[in-house]
């Protein structure tokens, strides 16, 4: 047997150990991204989440101008922190629609009362079915949707004040 062939198992072992060590020092990223970015919003039709705010259908997201689709819930703590940032985005001209996950009209109304209402429309997703259709894995998440109803960006977790310029730029970019 040639010498190189004898070294092969050792080279393999070093390679495997190297990969393991590299994976160990690499911080793991458990974020699950939606595969729907750059694809059409799936068709859905949701009832109103709260009286006084219109319900949400997928066709409402293809109005010719870019919009934000915010997946939130009144029981979600980071959503409270995000609410004022959404208000700011709304004040700066962003159109925002919402999907309330597993929520009741009373709880959503109280949430809007307390934290302001940046939403044009809010759909009520009582069994997370539209959330699953969107490839979203939690609350809050925000999608930037262009005028044709194509998802252009998925923001996972609350939008922080420092994320505002980026989101506004993306809305402008997909216009």
């Amino acid at each position: 047997m040639s010498r190189a062939l004898r070294l092969l198992p050792i080279i393999l072992l070093v390679w495997i150990l190297g990969t393991l060590a590299w994976k160990l020092v690499q911080p793991s990223d458990p974020t699950i991204r939606s595969q729907l970015v750059n694809r059409q919003v799936p068709a859905f039709e949701l009832p109103a989440a709260v009286p006084g705010v219109p319900p949400l259908r997928s066709s409402d997201l293809a109005t010719g101008e870019p919009r934000l689709l915010n997946v939130f819930a009144s029981w979600c703590v980071p959503c409270v922190a995000e609410a004022s940032v959404l208000d700011e985005l709304h004040a700066k001209g962003a159109k925002v629609d919402g999907i309330a996950i597993r929520d009741t009209p009373g709880a959503v109304a109280a949430f809007l009362e307390r934290h302001g209402n940046p939403y044009t429309r809010i759909g009520s997703d009582r069994n997370s079915s539209v959330q699953l259709a969107l490839g979203s894995a939690g609350v809050p998440e925000t999608f930037v949707i262009d005028g044709k109803g194509v998802i252009r960006l998925q923001h996972i977790g609350p939008i922080k004040p420092e994320d505002v310029p980026g989101i506004l730029a993306k809305l402008e970019e997909v216009r």
Binding site: M1, P30, I32, R33, S34, Q35, L36, A73, W75, C76, V77, I101, R102, D103, T104, A107, R126, N127, S128, S129, Q131, L132, A133, L134, G135, A137, G138
Partner: protein, 134 residues
């Protein structure tokens, strides 16, 4: 001090917020048709929970896992094939959501490795045996 820590732990609310809505209809209910329920169970064992990653949706008590079981059972009851439901979820969340190893070309080296190693090992053993004889 230890007691205080334990008490604080017991009283602390969990980080993972849960809604106060009841679970979806099929989250903790079996389908009346035993054959369909068996199909749904087999599929749910192989789908990953999105919240408590590392558990299957059959094992997890997270609300989103309950909603995913509801989705699986509802679609199976409507006559959809388990493979179609799996494909629908992979289309949204990527291969990651399914525990069943992919047979796509990217996974071929993984499938081939055991066979290659076996041939390699066989060749070494054959070589040694031959040398001993001579």
């Amino acid at each position: 001090m230890r007691l205080l820590v334990l008490l604080a732990l017991a009283l602390a609310s969990p980080l993972m917020a849960q809604s106060n809505m009841p679970s979806s209809y099929w989250a903790y209910r079996q389908l009346p048709d035993a054959k369909q329920e068996a199909q749904a169970q087999a599929l749910m064992q192989e789908l990953r929970c999105l919240v408590c990653q590392g558990q299957s949706i059959a094992d997890s008590d997270a609300e989103l896992a309950g909603d995913m079981r509801d989705l699986v059972r509802r679609r199976i009851a409507a006559g959809e094939k388990p493979g179609e439901i799996r494909a629908w979820l992979i289309d949204r969340y990527g291969d990651w959501v399914s525990y069943r190893p992919s047979t796509a070309p990217i996974a071929w080296p993984l499938w081939a490795t055991p066979i290659i190693l076996l041939i390699f090992g066989g060749a070494i053993v054959a070589g040694r045996l031959k040398r001993k004889k001579s």
